[in-house]
Amino acid sequence: MGFRHKDIIALKDLTKEEIELLLDTADNLSEINQRDIKKVPTLRGKTVINLFYEASTRTRTSFEIAAKRLSADAVNITASTSSVVKGETLSDTAANILAMKPDIIVMRHSVSGAHEYLAKRVSCSVINAGDGAHEHPSQGLLDMLTMRQKFGKLAGLKVAIVGDITHSRVARSNIYGLTTMGAQVFLAGPPTMMPPGVERLGNVTVCKDMREAVDQADVVMMLRIQLERQGKTLLPSMREYSRYFGLNPAVLALAKKDAIVMHPGPINRGVELASSVADCDQSAILKQVENGVAVRMAMLYHVCGGEPVE
């Protein structure tokens, strides 16, 4: 089967087969990243615009490398955090960019739903590189690829996601993707960071204690705490957060022996992750980054109408 979507906005919109197709393609394309000459002509002549309204070195670079390895022309636009502050509406920005005839717009935006808004107004493909607290599908896919490589499957895996669920687009994409693929998701975090009705997002269990979530887990996914944002009312202190919701070797020992530790980065060392855990053998954090390029190549490839890669 082919990939029938013009855009990739949310993993919520994708079927099991579509997610599998993207992961299979990423697996195949990852071989290119191991070559001496890391470039194939697949998307030659295609133009990809990386439109980033929020600072992000990691994701933007990953998308840029992915585009270039497929021989697409990638252009980066770093806009101010809010289109309103800049004085130009997103709709006008989109019209201007569209006038330059891109094939794909990869956008990051601080407002949830900005991509849905954009996709309705442009004829080219839109890929969501993160919108507000809504979704971050490329992160969800690279996380799932990393798990699948390690365990050979996603169905039946026990995945613990720990931290600020309310503000996390990474959590939402993982919840949708993983539950679609048949994994079990356990959430833990301070009650101030657990959004209402979250268990209804998929087959999700909310745990009172992070130990419950981590117990016998195959994957422990720690979320980034945004020091600048949560300091005021959501948490008493980073110290207390670290004590109750940080991953240290003692808590990690509750997980399965071959469990892996994941984090979308950048890490606050000593807050959500003890340094010894971040750098331990079980840490898959750098593998996630590596897989990011392959997953983004697969996404770019399929929204351009690519056939399944044999």
């Binding site: 809010s82 289109s83 309103v84 509406t89 997103l90 709709s91 935006h109 407002v111 949830s112 739903g113 900005a114 849905e116 808004y117 919108d131 507000g132 607290a133 809504h134 979704e135 309310t166 687009r169 939402r172 959004p195 209402p196 009705g197 979250v198 209804r200 997002l201």
Partner: protein, 424 residues
């Protein structure tokens, strides 16, 4: 010219009337009600057989955006929208530019309405100067200039001491205080109702507690000051419960809700629909049920639209930055008539919440077809089917979540001081 409305089902709760009869209006006032009234020569006649004839509907909470924001709406277009919706009177909020916080601005509205408006326009002044919540506006002057109430619409008076004094002072001069009840700290950066839909969409939520807490404060202040207070646009089950309890122990509190709060839930926000973005936000199923129960048992005194016109550029943007509010004057009656179909209200009850009660709360001489009263009448065809189309709305703005909806029931004649100002 005289006007005879013949053979309609006249529903006037102020006189306990629900029967088929004629209404004769002469020189702008109701001259006679009864069977088989003979029309004097030169009388315009409306055949109202099969139609409802009610005291002119009153929307006690609209935004006419004039002065200052006429690109959204002005007194002329807003009044046309009101007339098309069956409203003979509207009370307009003071969050104009400049704010209606002094006699000069109030007089501007009154005078412009005299020359341009199809319907009665009653301005509402602000409670505090500039609606800034720092010091009381000159309420005596505002009343003298024609204001029928005071409100810092869109904003709560955060300072409880100032609100207490506002209630006491307003009581002394006999002007209604309307509270926009919201705890701003709890609202924070919220843009929709806090709940599952917000979780799914990744949008910041506004908890129901933000409204309930503020409503509870107003109730206690009104009780303490022994002064009346009117709560604008309630949307939560908790607000209705608090007000019901307060009324039961004799607190002089009245309230209104809007058609969208008894018609839609926060599901309408899905797809990041900015035409479903409003403040207070659309709530959940149980709140919608509570609005209906509150109307049914008299806890909720009035249906008001909170008609809030916005330019397309202010709505065709990302959800977070879209302005709050929807237009409502032309869809209110149809959505409210559905309550009659559902058995929530009978027709008398409907006319009470859309005409008699708003008149009483604002202290205006309207909301009745008593002989000698001003001849403001709405003639309604309860069976008329129509579809909401942006191009056909009289309002300058088209920001409605009901576009495309099929409606049943519509005003077919709107009569102000004996003059037909709208005919479907």
């Amino acid at each position: 010219m005289n006007l005879l409305i013949k053979g309609g089902r006249v529903i006037d709760p102020s006189q306990g009337i629900d029967e088929t009869m004629d209404v004769l209006i002469a020189d702008g006032v109701v001259l006679e009600l009864g069977q088989g009234i003979a029309a004097p020569e030169g009388t315009q006649t409306i055949d109202a057989s099969g139609l409802l004839v009610t005291p002119g509907l009153i929307d006690m909470h609209v935004h006419l955006r004039d002065p200052g924001l006429e690109y959204k709406e002005d007194i002329a277009t807003g009044s046309r929208s009101a007339a098309a919706g069956g409203f003979t009177s509207v009370a307009c909020m003071p969050n104009t530019s400049p704010v209606i916080d002094n006699k000069a601005v109030a007089s501007y509205v009154v005078n412009k309405a005299k020359s341009e408006a199809l319907v009665n326009v009653f301005p509402i002044g602000s409670i505090t100067k500039g609606s800034k919540g720092d010091s009381l506006a000159e309420m005596g002057d505002l009343k003298e200039a024609g204001c029928v109430a005071v409100s810092d619409d869109g904003k709560p008076v955060c300072n409880s001491e100032l609100m207490r004094r506002a209630l006491e002072y307003a009581k002394g001069i006999g002007i209604t205080v309307i509270s926009h009840s919201e705890d701003l700290a709890l609202v924070g950066e919220g843009v929709m109702n806090e709940g599952f839909v917000a979780t799914e969409l990744g949008l910041k939520g506004i908890p129901w507690a933000a409204e309930n807490i503020a409503v509870a404060r107003e109730v206690y202040l009104a009780e303490f000051a022994a002064a009346p207070v009117h709560i604008a646009h309630i949307s939560t089950a908790g607000s209705a419960r608090i007000i019901r309890n307060a009324k039961a122990r004799g607190v002089k509190v009245t309230c209104e809700t809007a058609p969208h709060y008894f018609t839609l839930t926060d599901d309408a926000v899905r797809g990041y629909n900015t035409n479903a973005k409003m403040n207070p936000p659309l709530r959940g199923e149980s709140d919608v049920a509570a609005m209906k129960a509150g109307l049914a048992d008299g806890t909720i005194d009035a249906i008001a639209t909170d008609h809030a016109p916005h330019h397309p550029d202010e709505k065709d943007v990302e959800f977070n930055v879209a302005l709050n509010g929807i237009v409502g004057l032309e869809t209110s009656l149809s959505l409210s008539l559905k309550l009659v179909e559902e058995g929530v209200l009978d027709l008398k009850g409907l006319v009470s919440v859309m005409s008699c009660n708003p008149a009483k709360i604002l202290g205006v001489d309207r909301g009745t077809l008593r002989v000698g009263a001003v001849g403001d009448v709405t003639v309604i065809d309860p069976a008329k089917e129509w579809q909401v189309e942006a191009a056909k709305l009289e309002s300058k703005s088209k920001n409605s979540p009901f576009l495309g909806w099929k409606m049943k029931g519509k005003a077919v004649y709107t009569v102000v001081k004996g003059q037909v100002v709208y005919q479907a």
